[in-house]
């Protein structure tokens, strides 16, 4: 499979201006994601981390700064490369097409890009499902599957396109602890196998440290990088790493930064309400 892409976010600012209300969602934020790196972005809810992801994905335009993927410009002020299959988004609440079967969902990308014929795409979708031990659900509709299986299918739907970056916006939110840990293992397996760059948003610190090569803690709105933590836990990892001293130390460091920002967000919220 293709190697991951390097993502370069340079002094990006995103200002919303709906009817004169000036809201700075992202403020002069710079961040480098290396090729094949698993980056996890952590920050309080509503801090602007999803906004930044939407700009990278091409759903929204930035106000200042620039974003590059492998030196090709993705976004400059007023000049935005629209969404594309080299940086696929996996959404918070799941976005499988309810009217398509599992097979049709996974095959959607290659078919819609006219990269493969339908038969061929479905054949490789079938093969992908077999490789991850999910045979037997090919003809099911998403609503017939558990949410854990849905998320796995959605990740496969992204990976079949061999994207350079996968943008994951709190993809495991709302799953129970057991399903979540299955998903973590699945995602790490996929990461080992494809080595495509992962840009993963969450506010679950255990999840962040367990998955990441590097954790970035964002400030509360407007979003900026507050802290970068290099996660030097050896790979491949499994759940046992969660109890190690190194893990707890990293978590402590992240927790302090997040706590500080959460407190600020809380006070800002109170100010807004007052």
């Amino acid at each position: 499979m293709s190697a991951g892409g390097a993502l370069s976010i340079r002094q990006v600012t995103k200002v919303y201006d709906p009817e004169g209300v000036h809201v700075v969602a992202v403020d002069n934020c710079s961040l480098e994601v290396a090729s094949g790196e698993f980056l996890v972005v952590v920050g309080p809810s509503g801090c602007g981390k999803t906004t930044l992801l939407n700009v990278i994905a091409g759903f929204e335009e930035l106000s200042e700064g620039e974003i590059r993927l492998d030196e090709g410009p993705l976004a400059l002020p007023g000049k935005q490369v629209g969404p594309g299959a080299e940086r696929i988004v996996v959404f918070q609440n799941g976005a499988l097409f309810p009217w398509k079967t599992v097979l049709e969902n996974i095959a959607y990308g290659p078919v819609v890009q006219r990269r493969m014929a339908k038969n061929e795409a479905q054949r490789s979708a079938r093969e992908l499902l077999r490789q991850v031990g999910l045979e037997g659900i090919e003809e099911s509709y998403p609503a017939e599957l558990s949410s854990g299986v849905q998320r796995r299918v959605e990740i496969l739907r992204a990976l079949i396109n061999e994207p350079r970056v996968v943008l994951l916006d709190e993809p495991f939110r709302g799953l129970d602890a057991v399903a979540k840990s299955v998903m973590h293992q699945f995602l790490l397996d996929m990461f080992e196998r494809t080595r495509c760059t992962m840009y993963f948003i969450t506010h679950d610190l255990d999840e962040a440290i367990f998955l990441a090569d590097r954790v970035v803690v964002m400030t509360t709105r407007p979003a900026r990088v507050k802290l970068e933590l290099s996660i030097d836990l050896p790979r491949p990892r499994d759940h046992r790493v969660l109890g190690t001293e190194r893990f707890l130390k990293l978590k402590q460091a992240a927790l302090e930064a997040v706590h500080e920002e959460a407190l600020k967000a809380f006070q800002a919220g109170e100010r807004e309400l007052a």
Partner: protein, 257 residues
Amino acid sequence: MAKRWLNRHALRGLVSIVAFVVLWELVVVLKLPYLKFLPLPGQVAASLGQSIASSAYWQDWELSLGRILVGFLAAQALGITLGLAMGISRTARRFVFPIFEVLRPIPPIAWIPLAIIFWPTTSLTIYFLVFTGSFFIVALNVLDGVKSVDQSLVRAAYSLGAKPRDVFWRIMLPATLPYVLTGATVGMGVTWNVLIAAEMVTSAGQSGLGGMTWAAYTNGVLPVIVVGMLSIGVAGYLSSALIRFLGERFMPWRRRI
């Protein structure tokens, strides 16, 4: 187990129908005030037998069904198109919606006098009325459908490399389909209301199930009135069942849930 459960329900349905007929018979036999002119169930059954054997009765069916088909399909075609246009283009919505807001609250039956004056033939008049009966409902449902398409599905499609055309045909349309079905179901109910009223008012000789019922009234043939009513009920039921069937056929992902 499932079969017994089904049988018990079928049995209850049968009991309720039998009880209804017995009550009906009693009401007439006991000459309850106001209800004594009601024909006996037996008389209605006999009259139904005669009707089924006559070709005029089936011509009325044909006429009514044909009118529903033309008016309803036209309403679907135009309503879906306009609903989609309004949903996708803000400009279209701003042009069309105000007219909608004025015309929509007018009950379709209130269009009857104007329709009779405007359209040269009875058939055209009735097509138009049937069309008016469901057009607004269909268009507004589709508009609602387009507006409630889950934006993360649209974004997911773009992210996977879809072009706006693909998003329209492969995402917008299937996502709107359940709303089309709702529009069709509600619209079909209204359509039969309007059709029967229109046929009764414009009645001239051969004029469908509504006209047949009204003619029976003017001729004082009471059992035929009831036959007409029952026929209209069956026709309405069959139309709704057909729409339900088509809905399941075209939306298999909803059937299996």
